[in-house]
Symmetry: D2
Subunit: 332 residues, 4 copies
Amino acid sequence: MIDVAVNGYGTIGKRVADAVKEQDDMQVVGVAKTRPNFEARNAVEQGYPLYAAVEDRAERFEEAGVEIEGPVEEMLAEADVVVDATPSGVGAQNSQMYEDYDVKALYQGGEDADVAERSFNAAANYGDCVDCDSVRVVSCNTTGLLRVLHPLERNHGVGKVRATLVRRGGDPSQHGRGPINDILPNPVSIPSHHAPDVRTVMDVDITTTGFKVPATLMHVHSLNVETSASRSEVLETLEGESRVRFLDADDGVESTAEIKEMMLDEGRPRGDAWENMVWRDSVSVDDGELYLFQAIHQESDVVPENVDAVRAVTGYEDGDESVRRTDDALGI
Amino acid sequence: MIDVAVNGYGTIGKRVADAVKEQDDMQVVGVAKTRPNFEARNAVEQGYPLYAAVEDRAERFEEAGVEIEGPVEEMLAEADVVVDATPSGVGAQNSQMYEDYDVKALYQGGEDADVAERSFNAAANYGDCVDCDSVRVVSCNTTGLLRVLHPLERNHGVGKVRATLVRRGGDPSQHGRGPINDILPNPVSIPSHHAPDVRTVMDVDITTTGFKVPATLMHVHSLNVETSASRSEVLETLEGESRVRFLDADDGVESTAEIKEMMLDEGRPRGDAWENMVWRDSVSVDDGELYLFQAIHQESDVVPENVDAVRAVTGYEDGDESVRRTDDALGI
Amino acid sequence: MIDVAVNGYGTIGKRVADAVKEQDDMQVVGVAKTRPNFEARNAVEQGYPLYAAVEDRAERFEEAGVEIEGPVEEMLAEADVVVDATPSGVGAQNSQMYEDYDVKALYQGGEDADVAERSFNAAANYGDCVDCDSVRVVSCNTTGLLRVLHPLERNHGVGKVRATLVRRGGDPSQHGRGPINDILPNPVSIPSHHAPDVRTVMDVDITTTGFKVPATLMHVHSLNVETSASRSEVLETLEGESRVRFLDADDGVESTAEIKEMMLDEGRPRGDAWENMVWRDSVSVDDGELYLFQAIHQESDVVPENVDAVRAVTGYEDGDESVRRTDDALGI
Amino acid sequence: MIDVAVNGYGTIGKRVADAVKEQDDMQVVGVAKTRPNFEARNAVEQGYPLYAAVEDRAERFEEAGVEIEGPVEEMLAEADVVVDATPSGVGAQNSQMYEDYDVKALYQGGEDADVAERSFNAAANYGDCVDCDSVRVVSCNTTGLLRVLHPLERNHGVGKVRATLVRRGGDPSQHGRGPINDILPNPVSIPSHHAPDVRTVMDVDITTTGFKVPATLMHVHSLNVETSASRSEVLETLEGESRVRFLDADDGVESTAEIKEMMLDEGRPRGDAWENMVWRDSVSVDDGELYLFQAIHQESDVVPENVDAVRAVTGYEDGDESVRRTDDALGI
């Protein structure tokens, strides 16, 4: 069994912990959190040993009646791999600690690429990451782009890629984030940072532009790819990817909120949409250019990638098999 | 076993079906739907016999490859009780059909009170509804008000009640509904319809005012009640109600979105908040007046009430025991 | 003086009336409206003769104490040109009436292209529309695209054009429109209707994709154009267009709401942004492809175009001079 | 002429400057700002001498090509009165500087009451503030409450007051503020701070509760007042207040966005609604209790109050006449 610790038990961390728990070759040896809120209580109820991410806040847990096992360092001592799911930039601050405790480290896409030996995406470069001391699982949007682009490249080759990302302003419970009624080019400069982030994993000629809008549920991409593949070839290729799912006209799903409703109806934990959700009717090829729309669930699409990354850094060599195991365990 | 049919498999209907399924004294004999979308597919996957709510649309199910058992009338022939969860006003149109098939009927709060023999709330008037041929389960907001007011009246007596209801503009997946960036007195005239609706079940001097705002998750109430009870008496009384739940400061839950996050973390189906969610810190009594804030989940708070109403109309006499059974089965 | 009537005194109609009033070669002989609300009162206060757009609703104006001159037909009898600013589809129903009264007719972009002899954009095809009996002023988004594409084509030639349109869900006061918290590919099929609409006026190889988001203020475009022009050439060309305005970094304008704030500060009537608002920092040219972001004010960008179209259909031949007169009168 | 300086040229400051400019007994001798954005340019275009609010940022204005007169201290040396419209809490930091320059100071409602000699509302306590060295113009919501409560108290007496305030999350251009899709009791504890703030100006038994919602345009109040006045007496009293305006059913105004639309149509600068906007149909009296709904424009309702406060602190004794002059000059 691979012993996995999760540092940062928020949006990503709690989902990764639950996904690790479902696997038969790994287990959660602890989760660390900074504040004793409902998520901390939930961690305890899930049976996860709870640690204080910031030592001098440990007493706040006591005051709130939430029992903790000790400081985060004790958690690291128990772990083979730590998944750092702390806020952007904190991961980099933690990296020395992980090295000191000689634990393999997974970082999230909010960190700069140089925080880790390699950036990681299961479909694109699992093999390159086997036995690395640290990897960075690329961000939700980058993951979503790679899941489509890499299979297309592998099967048909791709030329220029142009993507417009319409991004949610904040996650559902982040009530301090806006905008309330606005649309922002974000960033104003072109390309956005997503294009170079894709290239940390895959060699492709890509330009991305981004907007921020007053929505909380999912990101949506308008994707344009130069390719020699026909529409049916594109569909066949993407239908072969377990982490790409098609929305059919008969589903009557016109929006990100309806995707979430469908996921909740299906009984997915937290209504999570782990896969890229591609509108089949949007897939069109004209004059050597593919267009499609896909929705990306920012809270969960990197979760199965983190599970695979745990296997990769601990030396499990077969990426395809890892994806299969992860997906089977989650019910993808 | 009580055989329950659900006519209208949307927001409320699908939740009631799932809740009925969890009970050991009733079962779902069928659900009826007008359109073959993802919810229809989900009904089939859940194992619910699916019927066409509108006969001449039956072929649309076939075209979509969704198998149906037959028209809604065949479903009624199998049922002891039908839960009508169709859109507002359609229930009234269906009532003759339910009579013709001699099936006990439950309506939702979108219907006028005279659609049924009685209006129903488990805490307030279960006993009055035993063996009725039809009852109307009052609306989400009215249910939320009754769950607090009736226990207070029973234990301490209440004088005037004044409530301001800040209502969501639409449910999460109703993307055609607004407002996008606006606040509406709704209705402009005072009192809103909620006050008379409360009085269909409970005799109380109440005035309600309502607003509509650009949010989809929950309603929130600011409640003011003249009462002789002290704060601790109020807390003790409401803590005795299984369908009233308190949010404590340590939970760190400041908003409706955080309530939903907590429910999803707890593994609630669809993240449903079946109970009134009362902020403990808001409960205050000053000069004979109680104030409190509560959040009401419009998609699910009437679900356990519907289950109890099924028992009531089929002659099960012990309301308290019904509530206990319902809650135990659901995990409230 | 050209006598102009405005049929439909809502979002577009009231703005066109006010813009016509500012010109020294035309005047408003009447505006027609269906309901006696605050806009009707305002029309009277502005000194516009008010007519009932629907004859049998005339008495509602009387009841509300709003004086009307008579039915819409009487207004047409006074006019050289009628600007139809009724809701989408109503214009087509009105076209026979306009013919019967032998009045030149301007339609808006919500109508199908075949409602009129030609589709119109001042920058692109003013000359083609001189003396036409009817023209359709293309929609806000199409107008916004043409204002950039036509000058680029004229000066440098353009190849393929790809545009993603992030569209507001409704206008500020349309509180019945959603979505509240959602992103919709709209339409799901690619291309959206904007590409063929551009081609009603200009011959160009363009593909457009569209989204609908919970915002009310402006649309925003991510535009990609194959061109041989350099960045400085693009800037020079677009700076020569009076209806394209650049947002500079020093302005500190990051969003559509800040554009509106700036317009209000400048004293623009209703805070209108008649011009395309282009973020200068977004303009980039790489490997023969131009990228830029622009915001389009759906309520007002077609207003100066309507004024020019009035001149065109009444035989004023110099399009450049018309644009200059319109802009001077408005203060663009 | 009273020489007025405005420190902080943002949402409130720029409106106060423009309102002062319209008066015939006062003039703007300068405005101070921290950043050289579009508002700074607009100040220059309006002819306001521009000063750097923070001295060591002066060079940023130069870099942006915006000419400044000097540091804020030089502006104070020119002024009889300074209107501090800086962000909450900064006013208190500035107070020593204002004393040092021996300039009368007006603060805004975001400051604590003890920042100034007295809190101010034109209708409620103008007389008490004559010749004060400093006053605090109470916040938008408090101003809105006082404009209704004080006349009612004066004419009919009022008993208990209960108000629920549904507050906008941020101003239109504050895109960093949320919530996007949420409702928050704000604060969770009852009463909110508005009740004690009302009592800084008027002696009344009031309890307030507040919510924050995803809207940017206006606040809305549900107001409940114990009073012996009849509905017609209430209407007569409030119709006598120039800063209370009624929305009639014939206006067809159902929401805050439609109020803003009406203000823009009327040609109000920035579409400002300086008055409380009360829905006439909501005004109801039952069993000794008045109910009404009113909308409060957070960006502008304190603007005329600031103008009156300038007169008060400089010794102009007749409050009623000041209100009349202010309103006439603005066109209220």
